[in-house]
Every structure is written in C-alpha cells, then in structure tokens.
C-alpha cells in the first residue's frame, strides 16, 4: 500500500477555519451501571492542534476516555471542556450537533456502509446535513478521497476495498465536515504493517498540517511514535504523560 501524500484540499484547514479548541478535562469520573469507576482523571489539558496517543493495556479505560471526549458517554462527575464548551453539561441533541460539526471520528473496524460507494460513505454526513451544506460536504469528501489516493474509486462499493483502503475512506468521512478535532480509536489495529504505517503517517500529517487536534487510542507504537504526546492509562487512571 503506497503511503499517500495526503495534503490539505483547497478550502480546508490551511485556510483560516474554526480554530481547534483547547481541551480541559477536570475532576472526571466515569462509572459503569454498577457504580464501579471506569475512568478517573483529575486534570488533563490538550493544546489546540496537539496530537496525542493514548496507550495502555486492554480494559485500561482508553476507549472510555475517547467516548467521554466525544460525548458518547456522559461522565458521572467532572467537566469535559472543548474550547470553552463543557460537553458533559450538554443535552443529547447538542452533543450530537457537537460531534457533527466539531469532531471527526475514526473507528478500529471502519464502520462503513458496505452497500454504499466510497464517496457515499465519505460524504455520509451530507445525508443528514442541512440541504445548503450538502454539496460542499460532498465536494470536500471527494477531495479527501482524492488526496488519500482513492479519488478514482469513489463510485465503487466499499465491499470491494482492502482494509487499508477502507480505513482511508473512514478518514475521508471523518474530515468531510472539516472538523478541528479528530478522535481515532485504534485506527491501525485492523491493518497490515504497511497499511498501518501509511495510515499513521497520513493521520499525523493531516493533524500537523491542518492544525487539527488529534487524539488516537492505539496499541501501535509506530503510530504513537508519530504523535507529539503520549498518555499511558492503566486501571482507569493516567499513569504516564509525556508532557508532564
């Protein structure tokens, strides 16, 4: 899989867009249904535009952190402040709107719609965006597919793509709405080495060149090595922070 030289499409991050917000996590506690603490973070900050690798053994609470940061989980206590907005205090529709407009999500197993073409997946948000934004979303999605080396294959259904290609479609989907923050959950775990390296390089470059904040949960030391900061979590607590 040749690493693609993903660079910013016109009209994207290079042009002044919504600034990547600072992140402040404070007095955070996430509990499961039985009240057991899954994640407890006294204080964590992230500079806008910084890239962060979250590492740790399985079950340590890495994914939980990502879900809290994306507003998919509401913490039992504490604040999750993105650029001045505490999403822990937002209603469900407001958190959905926040994800829609400010976050790009990338999953380990892509979570693409198999029967849709690559472009249909990358521009998925156009299906539920206001009518006036749909064309721009599609254009940007097509631009990202192009830059990720899949421009010519936009009409093919996802089922015909390799793992590496699928994850790049997912990256294009995450970037289509031009979000200032990208959250990725084990983005390279389902890929072979070459594909993983290529994708990692793409992600790091996209974050750096676009001034985007990137938080990637990963077991992959190669990917972690490409990011500016590393956070180690064990038993629901931060045990090491390369910035600290």
């Amino acid at each position: 899989m040749p690493p693609s030289a993903a660079s910013e499409p016109a009209g994207s991050r290079t042009a002044p867009g919504p600034a990547a917000p600072d992140l402040l996590v404070e007095a955070l506690q996430v509990r499961d249904g039985g009240g057991r603490v899954l994640l407890a973070i006294d204080r964590l900050t992230l500079r806008a535009g910084q890239s962060l690798a979250v590492q740790g053994p399985s079950g340590a609470g890495k994914s939980t952190l990502l879900h809290v940061l994306s507003g998919l989980i509401r913490p039992a206590t504490g604040r999750v402040v993105w650029g001045g907005t505490d999403i822990a205090a937002l209603s469900e529709p407001a958190r959905a709107a926040f994800r829609r407009n400010r976050l790009g999500l990338i999953f380990q197993d892509y979570n693409l719609f198999e029967e849709l073409p690559a472009l249909g997946n990358a521009a998925l948000a156009a299906a539920f965006a206001p009518a006036r934004d749909r064309a721009a979303l599609r254009d940007r999605a097509a631009g990202w597919l192009d830059r990720l080396g899949l421009g010519a294959a936009g009409g093919r259904t996802v089922a015909s793509f390799s793992g590496g290609e699928r994850q790049r479609i997912a990256v294009a989907r995450a970037l289509a709405a031009d979000p200032p923050v990208i959250l990725a959950d084990e983005p390279t775990a389902s890929l072979d080495r070459a594909a993983a390296d290529a994708l990692g390089a793409d992600l790091a470059r996209l974050a750096r060149d676009g001034g985007r904040t990137l938080v990637a949960v990963t077991h992959d030391p190669a990917l972690a090595g490409l990011l500016q900061r590393r956070l180690a979590i064990a038993d629901g607590r931060v045990v090491e922070d390369s910035d600290a």
Partner: protein, 435 residues
C-alpha cells in the same frame, strides 16, 4: 356536505375514500421526512439485508394478496353469476322452488321438475304483451354437456347472431354453444340423462348434426348444445308439438300435441311488460319469477357471508400488521449497528428516526404493491378455474373495496412503523456500536 358528497360520481367517491384512508400514513411520512433525504442510505441498508427484506416483503405481499384475492374473487363470482342470468327476463314454470327452476333453466343444473302443460304454454305464449315464449326442455346430454330443446328465437335472444353456421331448421339439426364438445359439421346421438347415470343407448338410431355455433355468453349455456324443442319431444316418443304432417320448427305449438315443458322463458314487448306478466302468471297453477330477483336475494343472504369474509380479510390484515410490526422491531436490531454509527457521527435523532421509518415504509409499500399484483393473479387463476368448472364466466378485477383494504393497511402500518423507529432511537448507542 352530504349533498355535495352524494353529487359526486361513485368512482370519485371511492377514489376520495382511498385517499382519505391513505392520508394518515402519508401525513405521518411527510412529517417524518420533512427536510431530510435518507433514501440513498436506506437503499444501501435495504441491499445489505436483501434476503431478510425480501422475505419480509413476501410476507406482506402474500397476506395482502390473500385479502385482495378473497374480496376480488367473491365479487367476480357474484358478478359472473349475475351476468349469466341477465338474458333470462322472466321464467314461468310449474309451482315449486324458484331456486330449483333457476338453477335448472339459467345454470343448466338438471333436476326433476313438474311440467307446464301444452295448454298452459299456449296461454303464456299468446298472452298480450309477450314478444316470445321459449320452452326450455332439458334432460339429455352429449359428452357431459347438456342438450337443451328450445326455439330459434331463444338462440338469437341468448347469444345474438351465431358466430358461425346457421340455426337449426329441422329436428335433426343442432346449434352448439361457444365451448360445447361438438362443433359445426359434427353429428352426435344424445344420451338420456346426465353424468354417470346417462343412458347412452336410450336414443340410439337418432342423431343430430350441428349446423352452427353461438357466440360466447359467459354462462353455462356456452357448453350446451341447443336443439329444437320438437326433437327433444320426438326422441322421447312424445308428440312433437305440431299436428301430424306439420314439419315446422318453433312456435306456435299446437296445445293438443305439445307434451309440456319444465320452464318457459318469457320476454315482454315493453319494458314494464315483464312486471305485468309476472303478476299475471303468478297463480296457483304456475309461478312466474325473475331469476335476477332470486339471485339478488341469494346474494343478499350471502351478504352476511361476504361481511364475514371481509371481516376475515381485515382480521388477517390486522394480524399481518402486528407481525409486520414485530418483524420491524427485529429488523431494527439487524440494522442497530449502522444506526449507532450514524448517531456516533452526530446524525440528529430525527434523521435516524426517518431512516428506520423509511426502511419500514419501503418494505410495507413494496409488499403491498406486490400483494395487489399477487392477489389479482390469484383471483384471476381461481376465476379461470371456476369458469372451467361451472362455465359461469368469472372475471376477477381489482375493485375499489380491495384498494380501500390495501390503502387502510398501508396507512395503518406506516403509522405503526413509527413505533419501531421510536424504539430504534432509544437504543444504547455505545452498546450497539460495539456489537
């Protein structure tokens, strides 16, 4: 309001009823889909579980088809039997059961019947206002098809001009019904009686030659062979209705030489004449009745059966609606992960709701449309079968009552489809995302 409604044509009324039935479902859809365009996504999701969806559509189609077929078939049968009786204005027979005489004379279902005498026939035939009075003499058969003795007038009255050939002019000639087992040029010896008990040798030595064929009438008469009443009497060793040496075919008959007939078809010269003649010949020694009245009464009685059938069809639809609902809830579990991805990516709840509803609506509408086609097909197949078995031409067409049934079903299920959509948006996003 009522006056305006009464002033509309029946078709327009039915169309408006169908629209009114559809309206709640369509309104629900318009509300759900307002400003959203989930169709591409829904199409992809439908393709993803094509086989399950196909099964689901088939379930709906078969049940809708059953309801539609049942209703269409019942109406087809009713109209077919009524059409078969249309040519029989007024029947006069010896007192007895009107139903028995109607079955024998109109539907050619043979039974033992008392005879009207030659004198009675003569009184009917010569009464003022009678255009013609045709004796209908049955009892013989050929290859299972009834051989009926009557007059040339009756042949023309029943089927209009012949499709080919000419009407019988001698006692040895016959006219075949459109689908009779014998045709022009054929010769045959009639058997005495019908079916297994028919005596093939009873009329040995006598044969008819078919000289013409009637156009189709859509009645059991299409399979019959019509012969002069004279020959039926002759073959049975009776006087032939005319004085010896008189070789004429057809009326007037000489009352002295006319052996009698089980039924007489009477046609009046005037529109109102049939009603006057009915009153006139309703008396102690004969009865006069309109087969249409008897049939309408029978159909009226069967109206309760029809109501029961409609109730059954509706109940089936309700049961199917419930299974569709349960099926949709199960389908929602199938697509739960896709829905969770949408939610995770920030799709508004209303959009996810619309996706699930559109998904259900696509299955319901496809199933209902397929059901209409299926029901019509089934009704047509059944109608063809009944036509072959009874010679009553039964045609099954889609009518408004079926369309109303389907419109009601579609509307109700489209509204009920809001429930699985509502259930879908209440599912836990993270749990579904992990599955």
């Amino acid at each position: 309001m009522r006056e305006i409604w009464a002033g509309l044509s029946p078709d327009l009324q039915d169309a408006l009823i169908a629209l009114a039935l559809l309206a709640p479902g369509l309104a629900a859809g318009a509300l759900v889909l307002r400003g959203l365009a989930p169709f591409g996504l829904v199409r992809a999701m439908l393709r993803r579980f094509a086989w399950v969806n196909l099964l689901f559509v088939l379930l709906i189609a078969v049940s809708v088809g059953l309801g539609v077929g049942l209703v269409a078939q019942e109406r087809g049968l009713r109209q077919g039997s009524a059409r078969a009786a249309e040519g029989f204005d007024l029947i006069v027979a010896a007192p007895g059961s009107e139903v028995t005489v109607m079955l024998a004379a109109v539907y050619l279902q043979p039974s033992d019947m008392a005879l009207l005498t030659g004198a009675q026939y003569d009184e009917i035939a010569t009464a003022e206002g009678v255009a013609f009075a045709a004796p209908i003499a049955f009892g013989d058969s050929v290859d299972g098809a009834p051989v009926v003795g009557t007059t040339p007038d009756f042949v023309t009255h029943l089927a209009g001009d012949l499709a080919e050939g000419s009407i019988f002019a001698t006692e040895a000639e016959a006219v075949a019904g459109a689908f009779a087992p014998v045709g022009p040029g054929d010769s045959f010896t009639p058997a005495h009686g019908h079916g297994a008990a028919a005596e093939g040798e009873a009329h040995a030595g006598f044969s008819y030659t078919v000289t013409g064929r009637m156009a189709p009438t859509g009645s059991p008469w299409d399979r019959a062979v019509l012969v002069p009443a004279e020959s039926v009497w002759s073959v049975h060793g009776l006087a032939n209705g005319h004085a010896p040496g008189d070789d004429r075919i057809g009326p007037p008959y000489d009352p002295v030489y006319m052996p009698g007939t089980p039924a007489v078809l009477v046609r009046a010269t005037e529109l109102w004449g049939n009603y006057a003649l009915k009153s006139r010949f309703t008396r102690s020694d004969m009865m006069a009745f309109f087969p249409g009245t008897v049939l309408a009464q029978l159909h009226g009685l069967m109206g309760e059966v029809r109501a029961a059938m409609s109730a059954l069809a509706t109940l089936t639809q309700v049961l199917v609606t419930l299974s569709v609902l349960i099926g949709l809830v199960i389908l929602v579990r199938l697509i739960a992960r896709s829905l969770a991805v949408l939610r995770a990516l920030g799709a508004p709840v209303r959009f996810v709701f619309a996706v699930v509803w559109s998904y259900s609506a696509a299955l319901i509408l496809t199933g209902a449309a397929a059901g209409l086609v299926l029901g019509l097909g089934a009704a047509r197949a059944l109608a063809a079968l009944i036509t072959v078995r009874t010679d009553v031409l039964v045609t099954a067409r889609l009518g408004w009552s079926e369309l109303h049934l389907v419109a009601g079903f579609v509307s109700l299920t489209l509204i009920l489809a809001l429930l699985p959509a509502w259930a879908a948006i209440r599912r836990p996003v993270l749990a579904d995302l992990r599955n």
